[in-house]
Symmetry: C2
Amino acid sequence: MLATDEAATETLTDRVVREVKQRVAQRALTPGARLPSIRAFAAAMKVSKSTVVEAYDRLSAEGIITSRPGSGFYVDAPLAPLSLADLGPKLDQEVDPLWITRQALGRNPALLMPGCGWLPASWMPQDSLRRALRGLARGDALALTDYGTPQGLPALRQLLARRIAGQGIEATADQVILTESGTQALDLACRFLLEPGDTVLVDDPCYFNFHALLRAHRAKVVPVPYTAQGPDLDRFERALAEHRPRLYVTNAGIHNPTGATLSPIVAHRLLKLAERADLTIVEDDIFADFEDEASPRLAAFDGLQRVMSCGSFSKTLSAGLRCGYLVVKPAWIQGLTDLKVATSFGGAGLAAELVHAALTDGGYRRHVAALRSRLAKARAETSDKLRDLGVMPWLEPRAGMFLWCRLPGEIDAAAVARRALVDNVVLAPGNAFSLSQTARSHLRFNVAQCADPRIFAVLRKAIRAAA
Amino acid sequence: MLATDEAATETLTDRVVREVKQRVAQRALTPGARLPSIRAFAAAMKVSKSTVVEAYDRLSAEGIITSRPGSGFYVDAPLAPLSLADLGPKLDQEVDPLWITRQALGRNPALLMPGCGWLPASWMPQDSLRRALRGLARGDALALTDYGTPQGLPALRQLLARRIAGQGIEATADQVILTESGTQALDLACRFLLEPGDTVLVDDPCYFNFHALLRAHRAKVVPVPYTAQGPDLDRFERALAEHRPRLYVTNAGIHNPTGATLSPIVAHRLLKLAERADLTIVEDDIFADFEDEASPRLAAFDGLQRVMSCGSFSKTLSAGLRCGYLVVKPAWIQGLTDLKVATSFGGAGLAAELVHAALTDGGYRRHVAALRSRLAKARAETSDKLRDLGVMPWLEPRAGMFLWCRLPGEIDAAAVARRALVDNVVLAPGNAFSLSQTARSHLRFNVAQCADPRIFAVLRKAIRAAA
């Protein structure tokens, strides 16, 4: 509301001033850069030259630009610190991924979080974790106090190589690099593979932090519509031809937010397209342990030639144990390891020891089996309750915690989210996941966070109010 | 040796081919970029045009470049993955920071490590750590399994605010951001403040991983000589005028590798220069707990206006607990937190809980007091043993684990290091820390890793052989 009011009383000069300040904030204009000439900027902004003259005068008075007689105007402000908020489009807070993430991570006990992306603490394998902590407390001093080795704990890398073999990905422990988190693994892959300005394909919708992460790398992000079997291949092929992307970032296994899984035929055709366009793919396998049976992995079909796989243990073991991994072809190990050491030094350290202990604890296997059943039950129950409100799941996922749903009658999900927030319920509206902003009537629900009946009462009320 | 042999038999065409391949590896030439014309490249490389024609033919045959008739030659190879090794100067492995780090982190029990940058496991507060682990094993489920809050554990941030108050740095807990490591804190600061191509000042010598980290950010790194009281201010001022750097990265407290500490007058004058040049400073306070009494902090003098402070607990508590921090002015909190969440998501999680428990354990204070005495004793003993070999400390540090020493008679430290490696002793030759390569006869010793008498026997032998 505030933004609209401001815009209404904004003069043309204000608008030019704001535009220049925004370009400086986005680092599109860096210190010392020459501003467009008065004539050119007036034409571009569709204002008179005298308006630009007035705006440049004001910016000069504020010390943001300076004139050099006979040469033009130059940026005089210091480099703006990098602001992801300024780099992206301006969004209402209810669909702003940064805002939603901040709320979700904020641990405010008054809030209900059906939109968040993780399981409640009571669903996590606490006994395995407590045993792992006690074991480490009795264990080797080096494990307690030393930096990890550059690639990370060998025993955990061996275990990971065996785990991914179950998905058909053939890799040795030497091809695994431990990182400080799954997000850091993806970040490292981006550093390794991207130059600022490169184009990256993502699914539309996709996990919203992919947008923020890629923005931090100054990538140009191009969304490709996602179907129930994987990306829309015609659109994918067109995007390859049109944008010549360097990279495609997607989920392995269960797709976030839709809960869809890749079909073998789409996987195969996608890799043929990628090969022709010399495209590299990063497959984020963070939901691996939710699946009873592994769905097709691009990394398995491709043999880790142009696909790298990453993941972590935050969804089924503990999000507090900061430990992720990358699995890559041998030729990339040294470069990625050097880059990891340069930018974070350690190899997950003590967290890797704890993850290894917890994963090899007999209780973990039982935990995962119980978790899958519990999630299946919660998906069915939540799906029923949502359908009662006219909120329809796009598909019934094979596994996982997410239901991607459409509101009845094209209702605006952001309006519903805004309304629900008044009653302390944080929803995840579709457009937070959609770069094309075409998921206006969608919401993502986390079935493990939907046990509280208040959620559905608040949702019913919010839908009525927004309808 | 191999490199020299290769160079000796290299033809002029080989040289041109190698130069182009190197530019592609360094991403100085990216896919689709136009190569210099044959005439221009021949002039630049001081070879004949027919040599360049031959080289371009070979590169075309290898599929690295392609010709477009009438237009020139273009890079046809895919983007090279980012390689820190290719971005930096080619160094012998004994003075290559990446190689030394890999060895030091490799946990090879056969190697003695007087050159490494951390304390032996037996010097670390294992009892405090074991108690912290057992406490967490009994503790709250949320602490075990949940993501940290965006800025990180409030109790630890409060503790940090109180700790740095003891150094004269006034900041509230809200100005502290927890990160996954001290290196990650510095990395985050660089993302926030730098654009590729920006210039950064570092001390000469300085902690070698600063070079690798800044290279990963594509910064131009300019070294400024370091004196026993801090940076050489005349040279610093000249570097400001000549290079217009965006940032200066240095140590707070005890300088790595020299063991020097900043004098108040240098701190004051440095900040005046920084203000005039609008320079931002990151002060890495990783050795904070080694000091009996805090030496001047730039962040304290400046009031966190243009200085940000970072650090971790890896040197006096545990390197396996991946948890660092940044202390910054309020205006920068939101932007840095967004960037941290986008690129690593968590806020140190369980490691932050363990650090907090260990730091507030009564045993930690006693540990630190004992550690300082033990290091003082080890500094004196190691200094004596080194002097016996003619290896002279540059100064006697007030605190910490490092002795920065000069070999007798201008002997080449790299040759000594190469020789010592045969006997399983990994040294840290001066030029690994010196971007200007002016520390050819220096070595950094870690006095806590010098208890084994074999080190001095090997060193004596290596010095004789190199003399």
